[in-house]
Symmetry: C2
Subunit: 438 residues, 2 copies
């Protein structure tokens, strides 16, 4: 409670994503004062963001207000604010509005952001998919492209508007490409009079020699076949060298062949992420260096260098796994690290011995490709097709289960599956007098 | 079909609201070519917009893509565009992008917009509720006010942030006030640590001597009692003279008493509407005048002056009812006028005699006040309380029934009713680098 908080151990958590939220929930009913700081008032289920970007789900279906989730956790307060710095000597974090929030233990879990590998000007033409606003912006662009194509009388422009390039063949890229193709092929099949949406081209550009590089090669091959079967073109070993409003320039053959242009008005960025900017600020304050991807190197117990009171978890942390490589930026890693850090803090307060280093339990990973198409692997078993898709559905609904959106998401999905409809395909977000009436 | 369209009677409909959409649907399978022009790609169920503004429903729950609704109506094409003018001699409408769309019959149904009675600068501080963007903006403001109050250490500022003034005691004002009060009293009851949301003040300022002035006086009295019972303050006979970022100045006693200030950071405008700007453009082109509220006067058959080929329906039309007063700007009026105009066009094409003037069949009206509280009157029968609320629920679900969102809305409402939760209370819409990560 706030009134006797002065005497309690203060835990400050920055970021209400998977890592931060699970850390907060792990501290429920413990004798600590928890302050959860986030710039947004909701926890976002990022793995389903591509569904919002393609009109399958509404933002509220995959976002849950942090205050609502933590409402009955009386030792926890939620603070809507932006952290801009740290005073690690005085032990407080600095908010943009000047507030200083003191901590005894600090958990930084601000995740990752898009990484354009030094080509930040590409962002304007190739938005990434990290926030609700990203998703509704991509939705606006994709749907507007079909509208503009319907209006266009210029064949070249029409073709450009109906060409969608997804940069990156990881799970996000594959899911986006599949969803755009389904939107065109099924959902909007009868919607237009001048164009046939099914003539749209969806192209994935991937720098490696296979899609879903984190999966077993056989699953990459299966995913590629499924993508091709849906009419999606996949350019492997293909590097992007330029993105403009009307084209993407690529170099095939691992960048060795001659570059050529793909005429397109629609590019989605699913290629790279880097640690959120707060990682660099924290590293500087602690006198350490982030890695090349802007992630903060952490010890085996998720603390940084010689600060046992400061934890970094989730996408922002560079945690060396058993193979010496950093753990991937996946929700399960963040979830397990958040839980681990909470239990570490509780152990310390109880005076118990440390519980050993964090170990990531890889329960497996999955990627969905399209309607009834997915691949997955878990504990050495690989699966694909309809069964994998059902598994994907089940697990994602289960994850959302802790919040109240599960029923709505299930019904929406079932409805979409039966009718191939996507009810949330609204072009919104241009609030101006223009958009007012009519 | 587009290919033999040249020979068919061309009907152009501007606006995909209730009036325009029902007109289009009334022309299904008729030997006409229909072009539906709208600035937005969706039909909006405006009566439930206040639910989006208060986090109860998602935008997609009350909006349905026009192309989706009209997809199987093969004689109809949807055109996303903005009409900026008319050439009534050459018989075409002019779009912003330079396109000219020819018509044989024209139906203008662009509805209404906010009316600040000459004080347009109030709009910044007192947004109205007409579009999806209006609703998410009001949602952002209302939710942010509670967040800022939780952070504030200044008692006066906190009180100002927790005071909500709704200007106008019509159905929109009453619904908004009730929903904000419920949000504070129930939904967010346990969400904060520094403030008690239940201490928020919700005030309705109404210029007339009763709320819901369009209803029978006994229902106005019942609504007032229900509002007061919910802790909502209602200031009747009270005129707004100034709105700023921090206050609303009102003059009580019908504007005769001394003005005083209500300190508030949150004002919602529900007081006045006027015809959409396109009404004036059409009137000028036709050589007629709009009425004081910017509505286009129409004949008994919904045509304008001596142009039997041009119809105006819905909120934009000033149609004199049996009592000599213009029909109110309600969805049922627009729906019936849209249907009437479609059948008029069909009759003409078939060479049948005119079917008589439009007659509004007033099936009754309803207004909801809060959880299980509503008033309604239909064919001389007045009802209120729980029964009225169930009736309101039933009728609104029925209206949405023509689109596929009914199931989702019902479940969301049932869920909200049982849990008093409002899942869609997301603060979104500030797309900037600031909002990106964290």
């Amino acid at each position: 409670m706030a009134d006797d908080g002065a005497t309690k151990h203060k835990v400050v958590i920055i970021g209400g994503g998977f890592g931060g939220l699970l850390a907060a929930q792990g501290l429920d009913k413990q004798p600590v004062d928890v302050t959860m700081i986030d710039r947004r008032n909701f926890h976002l289920f990022q793995p389903l963001l591509y569904q919002v970007a393609t009109g399958g789900l509404s933002p509220a279906n995959i976002a849950s207000p942090l205050r609502g989730i933590l409402r009955h956790q009386r030792n926890t307060r939620v603070l809507l604010g932006e952290v801009i710095g740290f005073d690690l000597t005085a032990k407080h974090v600095q908010l943009k509005d000047g507030t200083e929030v003191p901590f005894d233990s600090l958990i930084v879990a601000t995740g990752s952001t898009h990484h354009y590998f030094g080509n930040d000007k590409w962002e304007e033409f190739a938005p990434g998919l990290k926030t609700i606003e990203d998703a509704t912006e991509i939705r606006r662009r994709v749907l507007s492209a079909f509208e503009r194509a319907e209006r266009s009388t210029d064949a070249a422009e029409r073709a450009r508007l109906l060409t969608f390039v997804v940069v990156g063949g990881g799970p996000t890229g594959v899911e986006m490409a599949g969803a755009i193709r389904e939107l065109a092929l099924h959902t909007m099949r009868y919607d237009f009079r001048a164009i046939d949406p099914a003539t749209c081209k969806v192209i994935i550009v991937e720098g490696q020699n296979r899609v879903l590089g984190a999966f077993h090669e056989s699953l990459s091959a299966k995913a590629l076949r499924a993508l091709n079967g849906m009419g999606i073109e996949v350019k492997l070993d293909c590097h992007v060298t330029e993105i403009t409003a009307t084209s993407v320039t690529v170099k095939p053959d691992g960048g060795k062949a001659e570059p050529y242009k793909i005429e397109t008005a629609n590019v989605v960025w699913g290629a790279g992420v880097k640690g959120s900017p707060l990682g660099k600020i924290l590293a500087k304050a602690a006198g350490i260096e982030t890695d090349r991807a802007g992630r903060v190197p952490v010890n085996g117990d998720c603390t940084i260098s010689n600060r046992p009171d400061i934890f970094v978890v989730g996408d922002l942390a560079s945690f060396k796994g058993a193979d010496g490589k950093p753990l991937p930026g996946l929700a399960p890693v963040a979830i397990q690290q958040g839980q681990y850090v909470a239990s570490t803090i509780v152990r310390r307060l109880k005076g118990e011995s440390p519980g050993g280093n964090f170990k990531y339990w890889d329960k497996g990973s999955m990627a969905t490709i399209g309607r009834a198409q997915a691949v997955g692997e878990s504990m050495g078993i690989r699966f694909s097709g309809y069964i994998a898709w059902l598994g994907w559905l089940f697990i994602h609904v289960l994850y959302i289960a802790r919040f109240e959106n599960r029923v709505l998401v299930m019904i929406q999905w079932f409805w979409n599956y039966v009718t191939r409809n996507r009810a949330a395909r609204l072009i919104t977000g241009e609030r101006s007098t223009d958009a007012r009436s009519g």
